[in-house]
Symmetry: C2
Amino acid sequence: MNMNVSNRELMMTLGIAARQAAGLLALAPAQQKNEALLAMAAKIRRSAADILSENQRDLANAAAKDLKASFIDRLTLTEPRLEAMAQGLEEIAALPDPVGQVMAKWTRPNGLEISRVRVPIGVIGVIYESRPNVTADAGGLCLKSGNAAILRGGSDGFHSSAAIIACLQRGLDIAGLPRTAIQMVPNADRDCVGLMLEGLNGTLDLIVPRGGKSLVARVQQDARVPVFSHLEGICHVYVDKAADPDMAKAIVLNAKMRRTGVCGSAETILIDREAAERNLKPIIRTLIDAGCEVRGDAQSMAADPRVKQASEEDWGTEYVDAIVSMKVVDGIGDAMAHIARYGSQHTDSIVTEDEAAATRFLTQVDSAIVLHNASTQFADGGEFGFGAEIGIATGKLHARGPVGVEQLTTFKYQVRGSGQTRP
Amino acid sequence: MNMNVSNRELMMTLGIAARQAAGLLALAPAQQKNEALLAMAAKIRRSAADILSENQRDLANAAAKDLKASFIDRLTLTEPRLEAMAQGLEEIAALPDPVGQVMAKWTRPNGLEISRVRVPIGVIGVIYESRPNVTADAGGLCLKSGNAAILRGGSDGFHSSAAIIACLQRGLDIAGLPRTAIQMVPNADRDCVGLMLEGLNGTLDLIVPRGGKSLVARVQQDARVPVFSHLEGICHVYVDKAADPDMAKAIVLNAKMRRTGVCGSAETILIDREAAERNLKPIIRTLIDAGCEVRGDAQSMAADPRVKQASEEDWGTEYVDAIVSMKVVDGIGDAMAHIARYGSQHTDSIVTEDEAAATRFLTQVDSAIVLHNASTQFADGGEFGFGAEIGIATGKLHARGPVGVEQLTTFKYQVRGSGQTRP
């Protein structure tokens, strides 16, 4: 890198190159993009030794830093993880191409034919932590949806990401697409993130942050361009008085314990007072038997002496761990009021055999995903049938819920006439 | 107003009340919202004398200020203008209710039924200039789409807007909806606008600015919440070599001159060099005969001595007047490069009998609305069949093009299961 070039100039150059690439990508046929994705997967498999050796450099640097074991685990690449990365790119290639799809078409009385056609968003910035696999995921999803990508991974994974980016760019080459379709911020300086949040002089259309709460909070706070993100997933399961007790127990256990580290895992269980007697004890026992700590209100504590006392803070906490808060509520209205107050508009579920109660819950709870008689862990692009996703959005506009290739597109109106002028 | 209450407290109170109202509006049946809209229209008709008298107060204050005639015209209310306002509300009542529409529905292999259901956005802030009629328009559109509205009109129309808001709130009363569904910022202090742009502590979901470029630029620059807007409409008509000359002449004339003050009016005409000989003179003559000033490049000037010289600035200017810039270009590629450089991603049209050229233009020009063989003046919600609109958006996300009641909604995923847990 030329040291006379400031980071501002460097990032603006990246932005202009991305914008130019985006113009070509928007027109690239599905076959060409898929060819690139398959070539990327093949190149990652062929380059395994190089990538793992670059990953060892990152791991050696990280070892000197006294980082958490979970951090080191996410940073570590292995042969099976590289294979999963390659397969992920092949799966993205197999998805239908959203670009060019006609979403709606109608003819006006004056004969104008109006079509609403899916088009790429343009240039997408992805800011993520030191998880090298995100590099391939994000690059692949942006390419499939016809967008240019500017990727900025955590500095501790810099060499690993650079090695992966080299494979992605080789895949672009092979398919005759510009290498600038997927670019990486070429240094680990923090001010480059700030420049991305400003929008790179109008060349960046959207930012997707992938990572923990502090990263997402910073992006949400400072970004001057739209952001697809969720700050946290404080998901609830409400066990209604008309719930089937066995179903309730199974759904609560799955919603909390299937994987505790995903954003769709439940953090609070609300139990209707009218059926607390038949639900509270078995649900608590099931959770504790599975290794979950339960923090509850007075009635939950009375139901099982192993329940610890929940504080006010617990109701608004995303544990991301085998801990759950539990509360007895006065019916569905009280449950929905609790969710409105403490929830994060991510994913909430009601368990009930009462259709009217289910409809009320699905209608009134203001979250991206609301479920009836199903686990909150279904909050996932793959489970929705969208294929790979870049995250879950809890904002209200454009993309809400799982963000897959379709959600990484926008639309334009194409109007075909035969000389119409407006009276 | 209690002078002990700071504007910050005042605006936060408005925001909280709006959020509460939004919860009720989201559940209000179409019939109830329509009843309110019809009652508002009736009340405006019955209150004509009061509204006109409040408007006289505003006009008297404005008279002391040496304002432009066009400003005074927009501020002025008359009996016919009030009648148009009432009819506008009745037309909104007649539109289909977007809320609750199932946009898509599918069943997963595990039996989960997923529906994508239209829901209101929540609380919408509308910031506009001293045009009292926007008060009724914006309030009506927000109500129909199930959103609470916080309206902040220009200070010179304060008394007029307050009189109209009183009618809207009376309509809400009659239909049994909360008066806080449509609120007006109760003073003309400028810092209240700043507080809206900050998002009123998370109670404001979206801002729609309606007004001139300086208003929209300020909102776009400072808003911390999503904005639906367009800064300007620098719309182009490209006359291809394969254009029918009579059609080209008619479309150019209409696109520029039907109404010069609307955002969809054309500002620049691009003529393909290969057919300049048969198109340039007649198009220039038609425009000048209609009273339009033409500013052109050397070849346009050579075609007609009445053409003035265009400066570099002309290509990026939205005249909002009977002035047009004109340039001869080297084919469709050059035309699209000009549009990419100087356009505002609003509305652009190609005139050609060549289907391949039309498809290329419609696909590649990155504007919200692209037309083939039709006037740019069709850029309008009514012309698209959307009914009334609150404006045209040129942002890429969520709402693009005309913003009608449907565009003022978002969606949620409702998932119905029978006890599914995730493996």
